[in-house]
Assembly symmetry: D2
Homo-oligomer: 353 residues x 4
C-alpha cells in the first residue's frame, strides 16, 4: 500500500520498452541524438507551438532552472506559501538564482490568486534598491493542495505578473494530472494563458527520471541552456530522456496514465470520506488527497504497512484547526495504483483492532 | 525637520576631531594600524571580554557577514518578519550566505520570542535534506518596532537557539540606543546572554560610516575575516574606522549620544500623543517612534518640509488595522535632534491651515 | 565509427537487464530503496572500506559536489590546466563551490606532480586574506591526456595536499579504465593512497547515467548530502542508480568492460602509429588516444563518417608544436568498440582517395 | 620611509577640509544628498560625457561590481595573469559575478594586448555550453607592472573585446597616475577608447576611502545600482563620498597629487638605478617601481625601517630569472612622498654597514 508519493513506482511498461529500444547503437552525446530530437518534436506537437526544451533528471532542477532564467539575484519569486519550491527543495531556488529571495504568499488559501498577489504588493516595499522587487510568479499545476487552476485562473495570474514585468513559471510536476482533470489542451493551460516556462514532470507519472524545462518565451532559453550545463544537469546520454519523453507523449500515453491516477484518487477519496471521523482538507481535483483523521487511524494504517506522509498543518485551509487527537495526512495515487491497493487501505482503516 | 532616519546627520564633533587627528602620517594598510588597534582595545573594554572585531562601512555588510558566518547555504535564518535584514537590505543576506533561506517569523508581534520560534518549528518540515533547517536566529536591538529586548529576553532567545545548535546574531544598528534605554552593561546584553555575533552600529549614532562585526564566539572569526575581504569590505585605510570607533567609545561618548536621541524620542512621543487623532503603534523604548495619524496630517507635515517615512502596514500590531483615512509613519530622533526640531514638527502638526 | 567519446553508447546488456528488473514494484523514494542499498554495499565491498556514497546522474555533478565539500568559497582548487573540470564543465565548479577560484597547473605536462604543485605555491601569494589559498587538489584518473597515476603517484599528491591541509579529489570518470590498466585494487588507488573523495563514473563505461560521489573521508559527507539535494541531483527514483551500479559492480563486470575498452585503444593506437605521418601525443594507458596527424587525414576520416574531436593544442606536451598542416585529435574506445570499428577507421585512414 | 603602498597615507588637506565642511547639517541618506550630486557633476565634467556613477569605499568593490555587470555567471573574465583582481582580491570576482571564471592571460608580458588575447582564444574551447566563453576583458590603468596603456592601446583592446561582444572594464585604482603620466584627457583614455566601465580610485591618491564605479555604457547601470546595495556597499551617509570626490576633482587637485607621486617615483627610480646591483624590472611610467636587487640590500632596507613589499616573481618579464641572491621588490610613491623619504631610502641603500 504505497500512497506516499507518485514517485514510489518504476516507469510504465511502454516507457521501459522505449528505454530498452533506445539503448542500442551509437549516437552523439549531450542531446544531439535522434531520441532527444524526437522528444522535442513530440513536445512541440503536444503544445502545438514552437518552444525550446531542456531535459533534466529531477523536478527540483527543472523548477530551479526555470526560476533562474526568470529573475535576477536581486529580485523575489512570489509563490504559494505551501509550494513545493518553498517547502521541499531545500534552498535550491536560492542556489540556482544566485540568491534571489523566495517569498511565500497565500497561507491557508487553496490557490494563488491575483488578489492574494495584490495583497502581498502592499506589504513589499517599493523602495529600490532597498526592497527587493518581485521578478516572477511561480505556481504548481496541479498544486500542492491537490487543486488545479483553470485556464482562466492561469491567465489571470499570468496577466497580473506580466503587467508588472514579472515572468511566469508553472511547476508542472503533476501537469499531466491537471490536464487530465481539466480536459483542456496543454496549450490552453500554458502558453496561451501566458506561462513563460513550464517545468513538465514525467517522473511522477510513468517515467523513471524525466523532467523537461519547456520554454515558451524563448528569450529565456539561453539562460536555461547555460545553467543546465553549469549545474551538472546536461547528461551525456541524451537517449535516456529522449526515449522516455517520446514514448510518454506518444498516443496520449501520458494522459492515460494521469487519468488512471486521478480516477483512483477520486475513488479513494469517496471511500475515505465515508469513514466516520475522516474529512477532506481540500477537494480532490487531481491525484493527491489531503485528509484529517484521528491519530489512532494514522497509527492503525501505519501498523498495516500503509505508506503515506503526515502533512504540514500550515497547509490546512485558513481557520481549519486540527483537534488534539487529529492528524493531517496526504495520500497520493499513481498510474500504478490498483483497486486492491485502495481496498487494502480501506480495510486497514475500518478494521476493528 | 529631519526625522527620516538617524543616518541623515554627519558625525559628532568628537568623532570628526578624531578623524582629523588620525589623518596625519603614514601607517600600514588594511587594519594593521594603531588606530584600528586602539578601537579594538576599546571594544574589548566596553564589552569586558576577549573578542574579534571586523570593521566595515555599512550595516548591511555587518549584518550579512555575521549571518554568513553562522549558517550554511542549505540552512535558514529565522528573523522577525519585519526585520531590517528581511525588508531593507535587498537580497544581501542571500548573497552573503551563498543562498541560505531567509525566514520571517512573528508578523504583527512586537518582538521575537521563544514561543514564536517554537511555533515556526512546527511549520518547518524536519525532513532532511528536503526541508531547509534553521541555522541561526537574528534579531535587532533596539528592534524595528522601536522596542528593546531585556537581557533575559535575549538570553531566552539565545538559549532556544543554542539548544537547537543554531547561532545567534544581534543586529545592533541601534545597539547604543538599546543600552542607553535599558541601563544594563553591553556585556549583559550580548555575550553574557548568549549572543554569538553582534553587528554594532556607529553610523546611526555619531559616526560617519563605522560598523563593527563583533565576534564573541570566535569560532566564527575566520569566516568573517575572509568574507570581509571577499566582499570588498576590507578598507585599505584602517584609520577611517579606527579613529571613529575609538573616539566614539571613549568616555562613554556613544552612550551620551544615544541617551540624547532616546530622550528626544520620548519627548516627541509624548507631544505627538497629545495631538488628537494620533496614536502610538508601539511603546517608545529607544529613538524610533511609530505612529498612526490622519493622512491629512501626513500631508501637512510634508508640506511643512518635515522629512520622515510612511511605514509598512505589516509592521502594525496584530489586529491593528488602519482606517481608510489613516497612515502609519516612523519618526526617528538622533544625537543631532534639537528641541527646536521637535517644536517645529509639533507646530506643523497642530497648526490650522 | 564512433570514437568521439565513450559516452556515445547505451548501457551494457547486464546493466539494462538490471534496470528492467528493478523497474517493478513500489519502493520508498529518494534513495531509501533496496536497490540503492545494494549498490552502496557493492561499493563498500569493491573499495573494501566504510564509505558514504551519493549517486548522481552526471560527472559534472559528481565532481563539483566533491569540490564543494572540500573547499570554502575563499579558497582555490588546484587542478591540471587541461583538466576536464577546468575545460569542459562550464563554470560549474565555481557554481557549486559558491565561487571558489579554479587554478590550472602543469600546462604541457602529462600529469600533476608534487613538484608542479610546489612550483605553483611559489606563485600564489601567501598574504591572507588578500591571496586566495589552495584548499584542494583535484586530478583525474585516468586523466585527460589518457595517462594513469600509479598508487605511489596518487599517494605523493595526496600527501603533498594533506601536509598543507588541503583535501584530495579524484575525478574518476574513467576510474574503471585506470584500475583495469594498473591492475591494482580500487582501495590502493584511492583511500589507501589518501584520496578524500572519488567521483566514480559509470556512464562512460557501461551505465546509462550513473555517477557516484564516494566519500572516504566522511567528515565531508554532510555537505554532499545537502548540496546534492540543493543542486537538484537527488532523484526520487533511487532504483535508477541503484540498479545500474549494483549490476555494474557485480562479478567484476565494470572491469571487464574497462579492460575491453583499454584493449581496443591499445590495438587502435598500434595500428594508427603504423600509418606514416601519425604520432602519438602521449602514451596510451587507458582508453583514450591523442594523436597528431595531417589535416588531410582528419578531413578524410570525417568524410568517411568517423566521429571524433579535434583536441586542445594546449594539451600537447611542452615544446611539442603542431606543424601548419597538422591537427591534434582524440580517439576514444569504449566497451562497445568492436574490432570492425577499428578496421573501418584504419581503412578510411589509409585509403587512397 | 613608507613605500609599501600609496594607501599608507591619510587624505590630502583639501579633501579633509571638504569632509569637515560636509559634516554639518542634515541631508537625505543613501546618496540623495547635495554632496553626492556635486561629485557626480564633477565626474561628468571631468570625463566630458553623460555617465552614471556609483560610489563605494573599496577598490575591490568597485572592480567587482563592474565585472558583475559585464559578465554572466557562465562566462569568463580575461585579465592579465598578474592583475590585482586575480592576485589580491581573494575570490571577490567570483563572489560578485556569482561564479564566473577568472582567466589570466599574458604571464611575463608587461601589458595585455590583442595578440595575447587572440592567443588565449585558441586555447579556450568554443564548444557551448561546455567551454565557458569570455564575456569581458579587464585591465588596470596604470597597471600592476607600473606601466600605462596609451589611448590607442586601450582602443585596441576595447575594439578586440567589442568585436566579440565582450565588455571592457578598466581597473583605475591608479587612473589618476596614468592620466598624469600620459598627458591625455580622461575621456580619451576611457569612453572615447571604448571602455564600458571604469573603477576610478581616489583612495590611493588623496582620498581616505573613495572609489567610483563610472559607467559609460549605461546599459550596465541597473546591475551596479542593485548589486551595490546587495553587497552592502551603499552607504547611508553619501556625503562621505560626495565630499571627497568633489574636492578631489576640483581645480585639477587629483592630477596635481598624481603628478607629484609620479615625479617622486621617477626620481627614486633614477637614484635606485644608480646603485650597483639594482635593475628595474619594468620602465617606470606611473608611481610604482619594480626592482631586482640583492637580498642583502633588501635586508638592509628593512633594518633601516623601510616599508615595502617583496613582489611576485611571476610578475617579472618573460625570461627574466632572479639570481639566487636576488629579490624582486615593489616601491610605491604617493602624493605624500617627500624628497627626504627618498633620500632616507637611498642612504639606507648605499650605507656601509
Amino acid at each position: 500500500m504505497f500512497f506516499g508519493s507518485d514517485n514510489q513506482t518504476g516507469c510504465s511498461a511502454r516507457v521501459l520498452q522505449a528505454l530498452t529500444r533506445a539503448n542500442d547503437g551509437f549516437t552523439p552525446g549531450y542531446g544531439d541524438d535522434e531520441w532527444t530530437a524526437r522528444a522535442a518534436d513530440a513536445l512541440q506537437k503536444t503544445f502545438d507551438t514552437g518552444l525550446d526544451v531542456f531535459f533534466v533528471a529531477s523536478g527540483t532542477a527543472a523548477n530551479c532552472l526555470s526560476l533562474a532564467a526568470l529573475v535576477t539575484p536581486w529580485q523575489t519569486v512570489l509563490a504559494h506559501s505551501g509550494s513545493h519550491i518553498l517547502m521541499d527543495e531545500s534552498t535550491a531556488p536560492e542556489f540556482f538564482t544566485a540568491g534571489a529571495r523566495m517569498q511565500g504568499v497565500g497561507r491557508g488559501c487553496g490557490k494563488l490568486t491575483p488578489a492574494l498577489l495584490d495583497n502581498h504588493m502592499t506589504v513589499a516595499g517599493q523602495h529600490v534598491p532597498h526592497n527587493p522587487q518581485p521578478g516572477a510568479v511561480s505556481f504548481a499545476q496541479a498544486n500542492e493542495n491537490g487543486l488545479v487552476y483553470s485556464p482562466d485562473e492561469v491567465a489571470g495570474i499570468a496577466a497580473w505578473a506580466h503587467q508588472r514585468s514579472m515572468g511566469v513559471h508553472m511547476d508542472g510536476a503533476r501537469f499531466s494530472n491537471a490536464v487530465a482533470s481539466l480536459g483542456c489542451t496543454p496549450a490552453e493551460l500554458t502558453w496561451q494563458a501566458g506561462v513563460d516556462i513550464l517545468a513538465l514532470g514525467g517522473s511522477k507519472n510513468g517515467c523513471l527520471a524525466a523532467e523537461a524545462v519547456v520554454v515558451f518565451n524563448r528569450k529565456y532559453s539561453q539562460s536555461v541552456l547555460q545553467q543546465r550545463k553549469r549545474s551538472g544537469h546536461l547528461l551525456s546520454k541524451g537517449r535516456l530522456f529522449g526515449a522516455q519523453f517520446s514514448a510518454w507523449l506518444e498516443d496520449g500515453h501520458w494522459l492515460d496514465l494521469a487519468r488512471h491516477a486521478n480516477r483512483q484518487a477520486q475513488a479513494l477519496a469517496v471511500k475515505m470520506q465515508s469513514v466516520p471521523g475522516v474529512s477532506l482538507s481540500w477537494p480532490v481535483a487531481a491525484n493527491e488527497i489531503f485528509l484529517c483523521l484521528k491519530k489512532t487511524s494514522v497509527a492503525r494504517l501505519h501498523a498495516h504497512g500503509a505508506q503515506f506522509h503526515e502533512w504540514y498543518t500550515e497547509a490546512l485551509p485558513l481557520g481549519h484547526a486540527l483537534q488534539e487527537d487529529e492528524a493531517s495526512i496526504r495520500l497520493v495515487c499513481s498510474f500504478a495504483t490498483r483497486d486492491e491497493h485502495i481496498d487494502q487501505l480501506l480495510t486497514a482503516m475500518t478494521q476493528t483492532d
